[in-house]
């Protein structure tokens, strides 16, 4: 087991957003996290990467245990250096070019020599199909290109797992495809990915596992085939039916 979450809890005041979520990720897994808005999927992802401070629960990552709510800044930074995070609205550094966005974490956080960092940075941008956009600033790129730079930024650090928080939700439909294509390629190469998404095509065809969440809890989880072909829980069936109807 590469990453294991147990009993993850988070409340905002009276509102309990995560009610003890369990989750396990094996190396090479591509897990799609589905669920209606407000089900706590994004909060879960943000708690795992310490962007939000969870109230309780524990995480096992690569032999180290983290007790949520008791993780020092140093431990958080160490965890983040070994993971990647892709945001819904890209969050590229606005004062940096595409290449600088990718190399910043390498040169500044990891003290990698500039030359080597730029070599890795260019390779990562080439991989996401942006070899002609190294020196463009985010304001000069389309949403799809910005999100691909963000994926390259996560990729360049050789992460053990990449977390995706609704990576295509801010994109126009015609730009969604180019981002999904990159993610599919990563999945095929064996990258471990935990993806909060509304893209049913990705969940069905690319991910090997699916987790269905509602009201801050995991309703059902299993292989993509099982969840889509033979969902056990009534709520899962209903959710999938509504999605199908919306598409029709």
């Amino acid at each position: 087991m590469m990453l294991e979450i147990k009993g993850l809890r988070k409340s905002y005041g009276e509102l309990e957003v995560l009610k003890g979520v369990d989750l396990s990720v094996e190396k090479g897994d591509v897990i799609a996290v589905l669920g209606p808005s407000g089900s706590g999927k994004t909060t879960m992802l943000r708690c795992i990467n310490f962007l939000e401070e969870a109230d309780g629960g524990s995480m096992l990552f690569d032999g180290s245990t983290y007790e949520f709510g008791h993780v020092s800044r140093r431990e958080q930074a160490a965890f983040r250096k070994r993971t990647g995070f892709v945001f819904q609205n890209y969050n590229l550094f606005l004062n940096k070019t595409a290449l600088q966005n990718v190399t910043e974490g390498l040169i500044i956080a990891r003290k990698m020599p500039r030359e080597l960092a730029e070599q890795k940075g260019r390779a990562a941008l080439d991989k996401v199909g942006l070899s002609d956009r190294y020196d463009h600033y985010p304001s000069q790129l389309s949403g799809g290109q910005q999100q691909r730079v963000a994926i390259a930024r996560a990729l360049a650090t050789d992460p053990e797992i990449i977390f995706f928080d609704e990576p295509t939700s801010a994109l126009d439909p015609e730009l969604t495809g180019e981002v999904l294509a990159v993610m599919r390629e990563l999945a095929e190469e064996g990258m471990t990915m935990l993806v909060v998404t509304h893209e049913m095509g990705f969940a069905r065809n690319v991910s090997n596992k699916v987790i269905f969440m509602e009201h801050g809890a995991v309703v059902e989880s299993g292989s993509s085939a099982d969840i889509f072909e033979a969902p056990k829980e009534e709520r899962t069936r209903e959710f999938l039916r509504i999605i199908e109807e919306e598409k029709a």
Binding site: A77, R80, G84, F85, F87, N91, F93, T97, E104
Partner: protein, 225 residues
Amino acid sequence: MTESRIAEIIIDSFWDILIPGLTVTIPLTAISFAIAMVIAIAVALVQFAGIRGLRQLARFYIWVVRGTPLLVQLFIVFYGLPNAGIRLDPLPAAIIVFSINEGAYCAETIRAALESVPSGQMEAGQCVGMSYMQIIRRIVLPQAMRTAFPTLANSLIAMVKDTSLAANITVTEMFMVTRRIVARTYEPLILYIEVGLIYLLFCTVLTKLQSLGEKRLNARGMARR
């Protein structure tokens, strides 16, 4: 009063006024503004980062400086402090007061600009493993300074004119020199207009530099949000 005499006064006084402008007004402005920027960035960051104790101190500093007249501050430091055993020459006294005064205003400009940087910038920095200080220094502060740039340029232009107040604490800057020439020639109208035009000239140059600076920043993809 003959026209040739007026022309002579204008021409003779022009260099007499311009030279202290170049040797006193501009250095006084430049040095004070540079120190003010250091103060302003420090005071803004202390508040932005919410460092306890220092934050209250920063608010107190801004409250006092913004709530008292610049002229009064000049008088306290130059005429008042000697009673407390601190005797300063006119120019250093002026630099100290202008730096502290301008620092308070610019600190507010920069604090507002820091707060306008989207929180996602900080989060993205954290996610690539950067420390808080690294993110501030390399991501958040540069963006904030870009946002603050026009307002800071405005403050600088205002400061050029405010340095005329230093005449009141015997700094021989442009306005002081003009007053002396007026006392000698009894031509207040043309001479005060003349010195006003020289201030206008300085500020025009700065305005041009501001728009040039903004163009260069925009060309580097840093359009103001």
